[in-house]
Amino acid sequence: MNMIEVEGLTKRFGDFTAVDHISFTVGKGMVFGFLGPNGAGKSTAIRMLCTLLRPTEGSARVVGFDIVKEQGEVRRHIGLVAEKIILYDQLTAEENLTLFGRLNNLPEEQIKEATDKWLGRLHMEAWRKHRVGTFSTGMKQRINVARALLHHPDVLFLDEPTLGLDPQTTHAIHEFILELREEGITIVLTTHDMMEAETLCQQIAIIDQARIVVCDTTTNLKKLLSADNTTVIDVEIANLSEAMLSQLKNAESIASVTQSDTYCVRIHTRNTDNIAPILSALNAMGASVPAINTVLPTMEDVFLHVTGREIRDKAAASVPSVGGRRWRGASRVR
């Protein structure tokens, strides 16, 4: 059974199209990820599915209910961890949970039970009577997740659940999401973190400039590169320069060049698994190459491959810099 069915969902704010005709389905117990850069439309998509925004066009059903006509039913069956933490700083952890439990029409004893359960599982039992305002972001996020799960939703929406968290809490939340997956809760999450998407999701929709570019299982997405005959190689160039970079970018057999650090570039080949032409090109431009590796593609490579650009702005402080990669079109390094 599909927990979520989306058909041509579109949201426009005036002239700006935030989400452009997206369609996908999510099966029961799946972890579905929206992967894309900031501003791609991930949050808008999630907000529509949570009935927080009205779609301009298209339709969607969540747990079998229409997100426009049956908002009340949809709300009864979903839990939301939005970008911003939905907790009141002036209330204690328990008071927050009780409030939202009541707003979800849970009987008192069930609220108590669920509070015990989730606080225990998220290792926050000790902080039950403390005000949320005194918590660190990581602690708040744990309570926030508990709040979203309190009424045992069929679908849990997580909008950038680990954004701005320390590695420890991020890890804990990841572990927790995997546990929930085992328990059969359907999860929809957004992230711009490739690693996160790769670790957690069984199915990923890569979303870029309001459109779903590709939507498939994690394994299939990675196969995209080999299917297109693209090989990923890391090349270390001791005397890397701006000129070399642009020469590489223009080379026949190279699809994209990304500088990963001061002396290292990642190259996607174009329609070939033969790296010999690249080696001769490097040789011809007088590059000193201490190391070269063929690597397994990551989600980052998949993203670059399907969208033609990197997902996030890397610190371009390293010499020799690739000018103007901070902005959308300009970051194209083909």
Partner: protein
């Protein structure tokens, strides 16, 4: 249906209580909540003159009279000055009209009384004499007060003199005063005592406090939750939108009323204002005042997506209302156009009704117009505001 209604009420109450709890635990909000009415009361209470009387006004007296009448005028002035608890005038005795004029120019005095050299002589000769009051035209209000005070002094002295003359001329007249002034004016209030300006503004300030709480508090609270993101949590919960509005309004009504009561206690304790009407009616009026503003508050908070925008719109609306409603200045003194605008503002009616109740002790039957208008404003704006809010909240 009854289950729905019960749910609606329960959820509204929960949200309202949550808001109050959040508010009560926020020290800064709590402080501003208490400080605002106190500050307003003190400011308005003390900057405006408590009564239209003169106090310590530097005043010049030039007595050039060669006879004794001039001295009598000066003496009467001194006596009047001393009879008040505070000195009305701080009198400087000068030797010429010219020096009085110069001192007014230097602003060392705010006016001067000049008694001409032939003052007594003219009276003795059976002519009408005059004392000259030089006014400070740069300060019309003080001048008007001085003129009024001296007019009263001079006419009372003159009438005394006249009645002496009449008695001398016509010894048979039993009441010579009646012959000079066959009728006089007698003022009579409908409440005991002498209300001061503070009694005039106190109802205005109470209405204003409520207006701020109902409009600003509501808009602020909704846009704050929107910015914090907690509004998403409430909207995505399976509760009616109406209960969100009701809950928020409930919290603001409680806050507004508490603030108004605080203001009332302050006026009574600090400024000695006496409530002449019934407290029950007063409570009803305060409640009505909140109600008449809640709809506008909801509407603006729905339309303004940011707290800052909401506040700016609020200020634009509330500030002119403050001045045009008669809360601080009497509406009757405004130009006709402004009086017309004033009639379109809910605050005007709130102030009017509160003033009637507090100062004059008017009963409910005497303010039905105000009550209906406030009810009308409340109903109309709330009816418009609720769908606007519902739509705006999920764009």
């Amino acid at each position: 249906m009854s289950g729905n209604l019960k749910g609606l009420i329960m959820h509204s109450l929960r949200l309202g209580i949550k808001d109050l709890l959040v508010f009560a635990r926020d020290r800064m909000m709590l402080i501003s909540f208490v400080i605002m009415p106190i500050f307003m009361m003190l400011m308005v209470g003390f900057i405006f003159p408590s009564q239209n009387i003169l106090k310590d006004v530097p005043f010049g007296v030039v007595n050039l009279d060669e006879g004794s009448m001039g001295d009598q005028v000066v003496l009467a002035l001194q006596q009047m000055n001393r009879s008040q608890s505070n000195l009305m005038f701080h009198i400087t005795y000068l030797h010429s009209k010219g020096s009085a004029v110069n001192q007014i120019k230097d602003q060392t005095i705010n006016g001067a009384l000049v008694i001409p050299a032939d003052f007594s002589a003219e009276i003795s000769a059976g002519e009408q004499a005059a004392v000259i009051l030089i006014t400070d035209q740069s300060n019309p209000q003080v001048s008007a007060s001085i003129t009024g005070t001296l007019n009263a002094l001079v006419s009372s002295m003159a009438s005394q003199l006249a009645s002496q003359n009449v008695a001398a001329l016509l010894p048979n007249v039993p009441n010579p005063q009646q012959l000079i002034a066959p009728f006089t004016i007698q003022t009579e209030g409908i409440i005991p005592g002498n209300p001061n300006y503070f009694e005039f503004v106190a109802p205005g300030i109470m209405a204003m406090t409520i207006m701020f709480a109902a409009m600003m508090g509501l808009a602020g609270s909704i846009s704050r939750e929107r910015e914090l993101g907690t509004l998403d949590g409430i909207i995505s919960a399976p509760i009616s939108r109406l209960s969100i509005i009701l809950g928020k309004s409930f919290a603001q009504v409680v806050r507004g009323l508490l603030q108004a009561v605080l203001a009332l206690i302050l006026t009574v304790v600090l400024f000695g204002v006496v409530v002449h009407g019934s407290y029950g009616l007063l409570a009803l009026l305060l409640l009505l005042t909140v109600f008449s503003f809640i709809g506008i508050g909801i509407m603006i908070s729905a339309l303004a997506s940011q707290q800052e925008t909401a506040m700016t719109i609020m200020m634009t609306l509330t500030f002119p209302m403050l001045f045009l409603s008669g809360a601080l200045f009497p509406v009757q003194q405004m130009p006709v156009v402004m009086q017309g605008i004033s009639k379109g503002l809910p605050l005007t009616y709130a102030v009017e009704a509160l003033r009637k109740c507090i100062v004059l002790g008017t009963g409910m039957s005497g303010m039905m117009t105000e009550i209906w208008v406030m009810l009308g404003f409340g109903v109309i704006f709330t009816v418009i505001a609720i769908p606007v809010f519902n739509r705006a909240i999920t764009r």
